[in-house]
């Protein structure tokens, strides 16, 4: 199990000569980024080819890369008066529905699948970015691994990624009649609506959310080197 990563990386690069794959090998696994046009073809080969045999797809999820790497509190550029104070960014949880940011970002949405090969006892993460132009659409893996049906429904529900060829693309986790895709980074953490009992109408009604956005700990980024150093130590030893 432990030393399969190098071999798998090599096999991927050798096997898919006509597809532009980005293979990233790290200490925790292999991540393979596939162009959206080749998503189905690569997945099918990974399942069927004898050297791969990824017969299980454990998980499919969406990722929204909006605000990736944006800190809310500056930790560099220290002046004689100290660090920057106050939080002014609109990070997750710090904005309401009306204040949400609406700017475009290339390669914003990705679909990530975790594959597992029972015969070879190996794992592989495959990833593809949804196209920037036109529909936010990625081919569905449901014909290759039937078990991804609900996982893709979930990614559609939470991120609004449309899976082409999915037989039953309905919302799954959110309420009936929900508006918006809640796991997008521009969807407020407090939500948009809440439910309450209306005494006059004698039923439960939707109303605008009444709580204020609040986050206690700002998001900070520190690229300190200690982990990198300890990793280098391990590699050389």
């Amino acid at each position: 199990m432990s030393n399969y990563r190098y071999k798998l990386t090599k096999e991927l690069a050798e096997h898919f000569t006509d597809v532009q794959l980005e293979i990233e090998e790290s200490a925790h696994g292999v991540v393979c980024t596939v162009p959206v046009e080749s998503w189905l073809e690569v997945a099918k080969t990974l399942r069927d080819a004898t050297i791969f045999q990824f017969d299980q797809c454990m998980d499919v999820c969406g990722v929204d890369y909006f605000t990736y790497g944006e800190a809310e509190w500056q930790t560099d550029g220290v002046s004689s008066t100290g660090f920057s104070r106050g939080v002014n960014a609109k990070g997750p949880g710090r904005f309401s529905w009306h204040e949400r940011r609406q700017e475009a970002m290339p390669k914003r949405f990705a679909v990530v699948a975790q594959l597992l090969s029972v015969p070879h006892n190996r794992r592989l993460t495959i990833k593809c970015y949804a196209p920037d132009e036109g529909m936010l659409m990625v081919p569905s893996l449901v014909d290759i691994w039937p078990g991804v049906n609900w996982f893709e429904r979930e990614a559609f529900d939470l991120f609004g990624i449309i899976f082409k060829g999915h037989p039953d693309l309905r919302r799954i986790l959110t309420d009936y009649g929900f508006i918006g895709h809640p796991f997008r980074k521009d969807f407020p953490l407090i939500g948009n609506v809440e439910v309450a009992y209306d005494e006059e109408k004698e039923r439960v009604v939707y109303q605008p959310v009444s709580i204020e956005p609040r986050v206690l700990v700002p998001k900070t980024i520190r690229r300190d080197s200690r982990y990198v150093e300890s990793m280098n130590d391990q590699e050389t030893s």
Partner: protein, 417 residues
């Protein structure tokens, strides 16, 4: 003869056999299920999104509340993900403690499962027996973490604290006194490890009691044999894991195949089913409890003879002790930074999975060098199992739907997240 038409029936979300808040839309032809459409999400709390707005350590408590009958296994997957990104490893004693508590958790989960599954299928007495033993496991949780269920005991880099030297005892009260008091405190004279050992020595005979009630019980077999049959190919294609996969005859267990914690240092077997029906999955889970008892005994033996640290000696991740904090400026700063800002995790992504009682519980983490996870995805085993509901119940009778829900060991905390 009058014409019989298909009709649609709503099952749940308040039905006691729905194991929480499952809403099933069943299309029936007489009593035969033609189509089942599970509606989930009634317990959706957005755990992943909440975790993305908090420093890493503050989300450990949320993990307990996912699969709320196998708490520590969920924590284990999460802290392993963080540990891999941070490139740290928990000390060996902490690994053994985690192994032991994972197995206690497995017993807890399976006791809950056998109790409710039995109750659903008409074996009322079993529930009382199962919950009698489950109470002991609750006490172990309480002794080590202070909480009976939601422990928040595992931390990145180890566990929160070492096992207590003294097992808490019952005090004398109006209801518990004299002989009764001596009886309930019988196992509680020594340390927590003594208590766990006494429990483990006793528990195998308790499993035999459950088996007496069920194994050859005619009604139990009528309700489970040949119901919800899953072939190994189907099980793999549907993304099954854990007992659902092993019940179909696939010898796959992450504890053996992709070993973690101290599972490579203990001796245990993996039970595998043959027919892939509800009865085989029952047999697999019963045998898993026996194997868990074996693992627990070995861990207790090791832990009794090998004292040592239970947390990494790295103040960037694990807080210094209170005494150090009050004497040493550096420790004070570390303590302050850890509890206000948390630690930052190097950029990267990781998928860490553990063999939770229900199957593969995975955590997919993406970090962007910050103190909060950029994206967290929890892979719940029950989600994949429930998605195959329609294929498993098609053609079965309405009463078998309950058997299939029970055999999946569904808990909505993890499915809805």
């Amino acid at each position: 003869m009058s014409e019989i038409k298909n009709y649609t029936m709503n099952f749940g979300p308040q039905h006691p056999a729905a194991h929480g808040v499952l809403r099933l839309i069943l299309e029936l032809d007489g009593e035969v299920v033609e189509h089942a459409d599970p509606h989930v999400g009634l317990l959706h709390r957005g755990t992943e999104k909440l975790a993305e707005s908090k420093p890493y350590n503050q989300s450990i408590g949320y993990m307990d509340r996912l699969d709320y009958v196998s708490m520590m296994c969920n924590e284990h997957a999460y802290v392993r993900g963080i540990e891999q990104l941070l490139n740290i490893e928990a000390p060996i004693r902490a690994q053994y403690i985690r192994t032991m508590f994972d197995e206690i958790t497995r017993i807890r989960n399976h006791l809950m499962w056998i109790g409710t599954h039995g109750l659903d299928l008409g074996a009322m007495a079993l529930f009382l027996y199962a919950f009698r033993e489950r109470e002991h496991c609750m006490d172990m949780y309480e002794a080590v973490s202070g909480a009976r269920m939601h422990a928040t005991y595992y931390r990145p880099g180890g566990v929160y604290r070492d096992l207590p030297e003294r097992m808490p005892q019952y005090a004398e009260s109006k209801w518990t006194k004299g002989k009764n008091l001596a009886y309930v405190n019988e196992w509680r004279e020594g340390s927590l490890l003594d208590f766990i050992e006494a429990f483990a020595n006793d528990f195998t005979s308790k499993i035999d009691e459950y088996r007496t009630l069920l194994q050859d019980n005619r009604i139990w077999k009528q309700r489970t044999v040949g119901i919800g049959v899953v072939s190994p190919e189907q099980a793999k294609a549907w993304g099954f894991s854990g007992p659902m996969l092993r019940g179909s005859g696939v010898a796959w267990d992450l504890r053996k195949k992709q070993t973690y914690a101290a599972y490579d240092k203990v001796d245990f077997d993996i039970p595998v089913g043959v027919n892939g029906d509800c009865y085989d999955r029952y047999l697999v889970r019963m045998e898993e409890m026996v194997q868990s008892t074996r693992i627990i005994k070995q861990c207790v033996e090791w832990l009794k003879h090998n004292p040592g640290p239970v947390m990494v000696d790295e103040f960037k991740v694990a807080p210094p002790s209170r005494e150090m904090m009050k004497e040493d400026m550096e420790s004070m700063i570390h303590h302050f930074k850890l509890f206000t800002e948390g630690y930052t995790v190097p950029a990267g992504e990781v998928y860490a999975a553990v063999e939770a009682p229900k199957g593969e519980f995975g955590v997919y983490l993406i970090s962007d060098d910050s103190n909060k996870p950029f994206r967290m995805k929890l892979r719940a085993p029950g989600f994949a199992h429930l998605s195959a509901m329609n294929d498993m119940v098609k053609g079965h009778m309405l009463a078998d739907v309950v058997a299939v829900i029970g055999t999946m060991d569904i808990v909505f905390g993890e499915i809805d997240r």
